[in-house]
């Protein structure tokens, strides 16, 4: 089936209730729509409770998306909360060519994820302090928008400007500007690190 869908790109987002997991998938889909792509975002339909593990999905494609099944084999994983590493099977269906963006100020080694670097393309796996970036720009450690900026840089699937437009459409005033700035800062950070790895 993958062969028939050359432009399909599937994202799975893990976080906790209250971190904006569902909003993140929706914003990605809006940014993709602004760039003329077809996009489908949906939550994992659990009983959402603050702090409970939550999953959301976003599919991107050049053609209309008909399937309604959850994303089982994501091309990209966004993990908003590193404490989920010990609670949820985050890497289920995550293939060797997948992209991973993890919200953490610690390295994969420090997080005990060295084996992940062995099994996957290391230049596609990044841990970024998205919560800290958000705290600086927003005053609150909500990693959502920063990670979307990082996603744009890591995967090259979306432009930073589209992500920022989607953020500003959703959040007005200071929340919108703070989140857009966090997205930009994380975009820069990821661009530098991906560029650094490419040169190394």
């Amino acid at each position: 089936m993958e062969g028939a869908k050359p432009n399909r790109f599937e994202v799975r987002i893990h976080g906790r209730g209250g971190q904006g997991v569902v909003t993140a998938a929706e914003l990605l889909s809006v940014a993709a729509f602004e760039e003329g792509h077809h996009a489908q975002a949906f939550p994992s339909f659990g009983s959402e409770r603050t702090g409970a593990p939550v999953v959301s999905f976003c599919r991107l494609d050049a053609v209309p998306i008909r399937t309604r099944e959850p994303v089982a084999e994501p091309d990209a994983l966004i993990v908003q909360d590193p404490t989920l590493l010990h609670q949820v099977d985050l890497f289920s269906g995550f293939g060797p060519d997948g992209y991973l963006l993890l919200n953490s100020g610690r390295s994969f080694e420090e997080l005990g994820l060295e084996d992940l670097l062995q099994r996957h393309r290391p230049e596609r796996l990044l841990a970024v302090p998205a919560g800290e970036i958000a705290r600086r720009n927003l005053g609150r450690p909500l990693p959502n928008a920063a990670l979307l900026g990082g996603f744009a840089a890591l995967t090259g699937r979306l432009r930073l400007e589209s992500v920022q437009d989607a953020i500003r459409k959703r959040f007005s005033g200071r929340a919108g500007e703070g989140n857009a700035a966090a997205a930009a800062e994380c975009f820069e950070l990821v661009s530098e690190r991906v560029g650094g790895m490419a040169r190394a």
């Binding site: 929706e26 729509f33 996009a39 489908q40 939550p43 339909f45 008909r66 099944e69």
Partner: protein
Amino acid sequence: MLRQTEGSAAVAETVVSCRPEVVCAYPISPQTHIVEGISDLVRAGELEHCEYMMVESEFAAMSVCIGASAAGARTYTATASQGLLYMAEALFNASGLGLPIVMTVANRAIGAPINIWNDHSDSMSQRDSGWIQLYAETNQEAVDLHVQAFKLAEQLSLPVMVCMDGFILTHAYERIDIPERDAVHSFLPPFEPNQVLDPADPMTIGAMVGPEAYTEVKYLAHAKQMQALDTIPAVAEEFEAAFGRPSGGLLRGYRIEDAETVVVALGSVLGTIEDTIDEMREEGVRIGAMAIKSFRPFPLGEVREALAGAERVLVLEKALAVGVGGIVSANVRIALSGIQQQGYTVIAGLGGRPITGASLRQLFDDAIADRLPPLTFLDMDWARVESELKRLAEGGRSGAHAENILREAGIVAGRSH
């Protein structure tokens, strides 16, 4: 206007464009975003001359809708699951009185066991309530069907349920062309009721009817639904002419012309089915699908015509009639009376279990090889069922199946009951 938005938000906006004069609803997942959205738009002054009423229950919501519609107001509500069941008595009154109420059902399972996820148990349980039932395949169609539903309801003097898959559609963000308000206004003129309760000109509706006339009055309700078999495609055609895209109607075939195997289904699962069919067509398998858009009235003649040439008909449905099996498939069988072909019923997606392309592929392969039993439960964990049946046979008490199965699945800890 083309927008990337949530299904519920798009439905809310479109319902407001249809200019209901009374909206009365009680929130229940997964319908809540729709009625909250309408409430916000009414409060923001987007809809003049509309009374948005808060009530204490779904029974009250439908009762207020009945009163409002009888008094000549264009009337809308939405519900799901237990809420629809709580309305049941009033549903039959709304249709029996010929009141053109439009209601969204954000399809969800019913308890017990309590479950908030999607399937069609709720609307299927009310299939004989006298309401027209339309099923949306996509959020685009859900939006479009609401515009058509008010027109249908008012032309036929019958209430209409627009059924859309809860969560799968209501909570999905996708590209939706939201009908422009002016276009909706010209498609859907203000409601001209053909019966109005008016204190200045008193009359009663809903008289008690004894054995001498009950059959005739009931038959008239059936006759109106039969008339809807013409009105539904006519309104869909009119919609396509006005808005430039096909939506609604009675049925839709997909790669069905030369298909030996036809999959019949309702609602959003058609998308995943179509992807699987395309994959099999690439390999030369003659398989197609038929979407049922109008389940009530059930288009017997059109279904027969669409399926008569197939060797094999597989009905995939998201509800279980306990004690017999399929609901949709029973209706399809009536349509195919006297035609010799293989018929399969597949119960899938109950309580929100994902229906995956991989499972569908295996299922269709099995059907084509004629390896399927007449009644199949997609992705059933038979080991869990067998273990619980064994426990029962050994003298275990019934009543704690939900807890026992959850414990076997490792989802909750605890002792067996």
